[in-house]
């Protein structure tokens, strides 16, 4: 995806308290030049008290966006890092049009130009105000450390003292940006701005919102996807201490109480008859059979080069395999929740959301209010991973709050709700065939992908359809099976399963060729030099080919997703079928780095998120119901399973790539391939069970 390059039609206005507001383009419904900063699409506010407030229009879910976006603004603004405050603004077109949200590892990519422009334009206005104060030309002024300096007299005027005058000036367009050699903040790792609040309990997550008179809700949903309430009896639930009311909404029955626990207890006392609908007999073994039958036939062609079938038929060596991946739940640590107050004239929604526009739209639909009367107050996200891109939980809370209007209501999901009513990473089934020539070079590659459709075009096939290996004859087909299980984006999206399939099968091809897995890839990646480069770095830093302690084995994998490139070498041992990952070496090229410490943290994070799926996580269905209920049977990796992760970042001046989803796909096949090296067994289905390896 190309970065959005918002052109610099700048607007200014006086902020409340006499500060400077600066925003981009698109005046909102006649409110341009008005007095309120929050209505002016602002990125930068300067207070007369010398504070600088930056509007962070991307949700903070741990990926460091509060800090890294502030670095982009502050780099050009020349403000004092210690005086920065940040805010999450409401929904405005300038913050994302037609959709305000945080997804696709796009925050840096889409903010890289406009936020530096916003910082630069604000700085120029402060300098212009100083020049007017001194009655000198602006070229005689220099901005540094929250002040403008007169280079001739060495006089200084603080940003705070200039804010009111600067706010009255027109915004300059097309201010030249610094060259890379001039960066002071970009490429460095200042301490994260959100850390202090996250070590003393004061960071405000969605679930921490407390409003006067607020009630607490818990919602019982049909255990089968798409099912509905046939009838219910709330008599007993209403006798539970603390329970205030029981209301039916579109997808269940909500218990409202004066505290969360009473709402959950009241919910247990509900008697509900469900109309389970048409998916009540779905089970995982049945789906696998159906999808295997679909994969036996060609699907829709999504990539074709040469004649894969004919060259496969004539190949000296043939490799065929079927791979499968399960549904996965996101399971962010903060259970889903939303706090909503519905009044006749408006609606307030306090929520940890990845797509604020969707939350606003769903609130407008349910309440019948205009969208601009549905105000979204973004809170810190206790993990997102794609789950909080949905607005299902917001809609539920709005329905309940509408029934309880004007009381504010907080709906909190339990962990069981979270695992059983997710919008899942889809399960997937792939049938591969490859042909090698007599020298072991691949001449034919084909894949038939069966995966429920989700998201935009190509998401179900990305990672295979766009594979970078130079193979002359390629055929990739896609078939969408019908299912009732809700699916959506999960960290790294289609790459999360397809990179596992692709890189594990490529290892099978290398083995059939009798080739070293790194060397085999090198020969096929000469057309993608940045991918080849990270492969070489990971192999070198990961000691590929060098001796290992007894019982340890290595595996390798690469991926090019979200505009970045990464390669990983994993070191594992396998004892009685139990896989232990000791060390992971990751090389990443994500273009220009804003904050290296955050890049490293995101690489570690993505590896942990992916690694949990190799041996531990999988969602299965039985009689239309999700089997997994809590962290006892959906148990992500814990600290004692954490490998040592070493991250090597390629220095680069290319435009920034994404980072939040870069390392999740690669760890899975790197470990699977290392397990093959250890056991000569291919894990063609996840999660790996010990019995599969002994």
């Amino acid at each position: 995806m190309n970065p959005v390059n918002r052109r610099s039609f700048l607007k200014t206005g006086a902020a409340v308290g006499g500060g400077l507001v600066l925003g981009f383009q698109l005046p909102v419904k006649g409110q341009a030049q008005s007095a309120s900063p929050l209505k002016l699409n602002a990125f930068v506010k300067v207070g007369t008290d010398d504070t600088v407030t930056l509007e962070i229009h991307k949700s903070e879910m741990g990926q460091g966006t509060v800090t890294s976006l502030s670095q982009l603004l502050a780099e050009e603004l020349e403000c004092d890092w210690k005086k920065i405050r940040t805010e999450f603004p409401g929904v405005e077109p300038v913050y994302g049009s037609p959709m305000m949200g945080t997804y696709g590892s796009l925050s840096i990519r889409t903010s890289w130009q406009p936020l530096r422009q916003a910082g630069a334009a604000a700085r120029e206005m402060l300098m212009q105000a100083a020049a007017q104060r001194w009655n000198v030309d602006k070229s005689q002024c220099r901005a540094e450390n929250n002040a403008v300096v007169n280079t001739a007299t060495k006089a200084r005027l603080t940003y705070g003292s200039l804010a009111e005058a600067a706010a009255k000036l027109p915004a300059p367009a097309n201010v030249p940006l610094k060259t890379a050699a001039q960066y002071k903040l970009i490429g460095t790792s200042p301490k994260r701005l959100d850390t202090p609040a996250k070590v003393n309990g004061t960071a405000g997550f969605g679930i921490d919102v407390r409003r006067p008179g607020m009630l607490y809700a818990s919602l019982e949903r049909c255990p089968v996807f798409g099912g509905k309430v046939a009838s219910f009896d709330a008599t007993k639930a209403k006798t539970v201490p603390g329970v205030k009311n029981v209301v039916q909404i579109s997808n269940g029955v909500a218990v409202i109480a004066d505290n969360t626990w009473s709402a959950m207890e009241g919910r247990k006392a509900l008697l509900i008859k469900w109309d389970e609908g048409k998916w009540a007999n779905v089970s995982t073994p049945g789906l696998r059979q159906e999808w295997a039958a679909l994969a036996a036939k060609p699907g829709q062609s999504v990539r074709k080069a040469g004649d894969a079938a004919a060259t496969f038929a004539g190949a000296a060596k043939k490799v065929e395999a079927v791979y499968e991946a399960p549904y996965l739940s996101h399971a962010p640590m903060e259970p889903l929740n939303a706090t909503v107050e519905v009044r006749p004239d408006g609606c307030d929604i306090w929520v940890a959301s990845q797509i604020q526009s969707a939350a606003q739209q769903v609130a407008a639909q349910i309440t019948g209010l205009p969208a601009d009367k549905c105000l979204i107050h973004t809170q810190y996200l206790g993990g997102g991973f794609g789950r909080r891109g949905g607005a299902d939980y917001v809609g539920e809370a709005v329905e309940i709050a509408k029934a309880m209007s004007p009381a504010p209501v907080q709906l909190t999901w339990t962990r069981e709700d979270d695992l059983q009513h997710d919008t899942y990473r889809p399960a997937s089934y792939v049938k591969f065939a490859a042909g090698l020539d007599a020298q072991g070079a691949p001449v034919s590659f084909s894949a038939r992908i069966v995966c429920p459709p989700f998201g935009g075009n190509g998401t179900a096939v990305e990672g295979i359809q766009d594979m970078k290996y130079a193979i002359p004859n390629v055929q990739v087909d896609y078939t969408a099976p019908a299912t009732g299980t809700p699916v959506s984006y999960w960290r790294s999206v289609g790459y999360s399963q397809n990179t596992y399939f692709m890189e594990a099968f490529l290892d099978e091809m290398a083995a059939a060729a009798g080739a070293d897995p790194v060397e085999f890839r090198r020969k096929l990646l000469t057309g993608t030099p940045r991918l080849l480069n990270v492969l070489n770095i990971a192999a070198d830093k990961g000691d590929w080919g060098k001796p290992l302690p007894a019982g340890r084995f290595r595996g390798v994998a690469v991926v090019n997703n979200i505009g970045s490139f990464n390669a990983q070498v994993a070191e594992v041992s396998v004892s009685q079928g139990k896989v232990k990952v000791h060390r992971v070496v990751c090389a990443v090229d994500c273009g220009q780095v804003i904050n290296p410490a955050i890049v490293e943290a995101q690489i570690q994070s993505g590896i942990v998120y992916g690694l949990s799926t190799v041996t531990k996580l999988g969602i299965t269905l039985d009689k239309g119901r999700v089997v997994q209920k809590n962290f006892n049977n959906y148990d992500p990796i814990r600290i004692d399973e954490m490998p040592v992760v070493e991250v090597h970042i390629v220095p680069s001046r290319e435009n920034p790539g994404g980072i939040g989803e870069a390392s999740t796909p690669t760890i899975v096949p790197a470990v699977v391939n290392a397990v093959y090296a250890a056991t000569k067994k291919r894990a063609r289905m996840l999660p790996i069970k010990a019995a599969d390896l002994v």
Binding site: T260, P332, M333, G383, A601, R638, I639, M642
Partner: protein
Amino acid sequence: MAAVKFTLNGKSQTVDVVPQMPLLWVLRDSLGMTGTKFGCGMALCGACTVHINGQPTRSCVTQVATVEGKSVTTIEGLSPDSSHPVQRAWIEADVPQCGYCQSGQIMTAAALVAKTTDPSDSDIDEAMRGNLCRCGTYQSIRQAVHLAARYQRGDAR
């Protein structure tokens, strides 16, 4: 409803609630102290960890009646100014990502360094394995616990 009296972050506290109500929800909903987090409700993730008489305890499965007369410390009471060695180490190592599990991680780590002056990696794994982190901050947590132990011992400032 029943009155339960205990010490909360050094001060006497009385609550009048259903005695079976988990301490977690008393803290969060009755007292408005939201630093202690709900993650699973079954003592599986550690997000709700508090100290009861100094012991790290899962408040989501601790009925409030059982803390009668005891001393409860939450993340809000660990220090008045984030100066506890574990908090200082967490800041120095920039441990949190989303941050949601970190109150529980910090409370568990604080109990560890209070009794183990120089924890090994395996001591840390053993003490901390009950605390899930979906952001995968485990490597930073290990590093920060070692640093916190040094602060606690006075080896580092």
